[in-house]
């Protein structure tokens, strides 16, 4: 069972000096927070804001490499959560074959946004992540902690 997710924004986590990508399902009932590094957050924010950088960033290159091979991203799926680490798969269509490639969620999301490919999460991942924990954490946030990409 897969749930389609939308990237709702990026938050800065000042306590861990990291960024959080906020994903929500279509009904806005489930939320998935994913902690990512600074450069991955910046790759995701460029895509969200539709900023075209003067030189191709790593995920722009990733998409160009796939385009040049005529490979298409069908979807990305957040498949598992183990010891606070999320796992993702990038599903590619190449010729008549499909390929699933192991990825960090940050890379998968950054390239999916560029390819306008849908993002899914398995029911298991949504079940495993405790959004209660995030809500508690969000309550402690001050407004100035929110970055400009928060929606």
């Amino acid at each position: 069972m897969l749930n389609q997710m939308n990237v709702r924004g990026l938050l800065f986590d000042p306590y861990n000096n990291a960024y959080i990508v906020i994903l929500r399902d279509e009904q806005n009932s489930d939320m998935l927070p994913i902690w990512v590094g600074k450069s991955e957050a910046s790759a995701i924010s460029f895509a969200l804001e539709r900023i075209a950088p003067p030189r191709p960033m790593t995920h722009d290159l990733m998409k160009t490499v796939l385009d040049s091979m005529d490979a298409k991203i069908i979807s990305i799926v957040l498949t598992d959560l183990k010891e606070n680490t999320y796992f993702a798969k990038i599903h590619l269509l190449y010729g008549d074959s499909e390929f699933s490639i192991d990825s960090r969620p940050s890379d998968a999301i950054a390239v999916a946004l560029r390819a306008e490919a849908p993002i899914f999460a398995t029911a298991e991942v949504l079940h495993k992540q405790s959004s209660e924990e995030l809500e508690r954490w969000l309550e402690n946030l001050k407004p100035e902690d929110f970055g400009k990409f928060e929606t």
Binding site: K38, M69, F87, I90, D102, R104
Partner: protein
């Protein structure tokens, strides 16, 4: 795609090491030619510098980094990165081209040198520079600059080189 004759006038380079510039949020990839007579320093971001360093040290991270993922695309789809070329420098920005090949079909992809180098190290592809870029690099005083750097700012891969 350069023909073999085009490759002839290109200069092959090796990654000599990655330095951390302690004053800025950047790292410096030091490339040298095979005779060790030419040095080409390229300033890169922290993420790209780290990715190049991991490849140099042949560290396999627990989860694939962005360049490992591009490499993995190649393994699954059956294309190869044959070589990368640093082609141009304009206003202190270096330009590179990644050459990929699949069943004899060659493609050239515009790239930042940092991504090109990080990928070339993973695919064991050769790194080239055009003679023009080497001539125009602003590095006449590089040796003096390198000598002034604190040895501690040299990464491990530099010490091993």
């Amino acid at each position: 795609m350069p023909s073999p004759t085009d490759l002839d006038h290109l200069i092959p380079l090796k990654v000599h090491g990655v330095l951390v510039d302690p004053n800025t949020d950047t790292q410096i990839v030091v490339l040298r030619d095979e005779k060790n007579s030419e040095v080409l320093p390229i300033w890169v971001g922290t993420a790209e510098g780290t990715s190049i360093r991991l490849a140099l040290e042949e560290v396999i991270p627990p989860r694939p980094m962005s360049h490992d993922l591009i490499y993995s695309f190649g393994e699954h789809l059956g294309f190869m990165i044959t070589h990368v070329t640093i082609t141009e420098v304009k206003n202190n920005t270096y330009y590179a081209t990644i050459h990929i090949s699949k069943n004899g079909i060659e493609k050239s992809i515009d790239s930042r040198p940092s991504d090109a180098i990080a990928l070339a190290l993973r695919t064991k592809g050769q790194i080239y520079v055009t003679p023009d870029v080497l001539e125009r690099r602003g590095g006449e005083n590089l040796d003096a600059w390198l000598a002034k750097l604190d040895p501690k700012s040299f990464g491990q891969s530099e010490a091993e080189a």
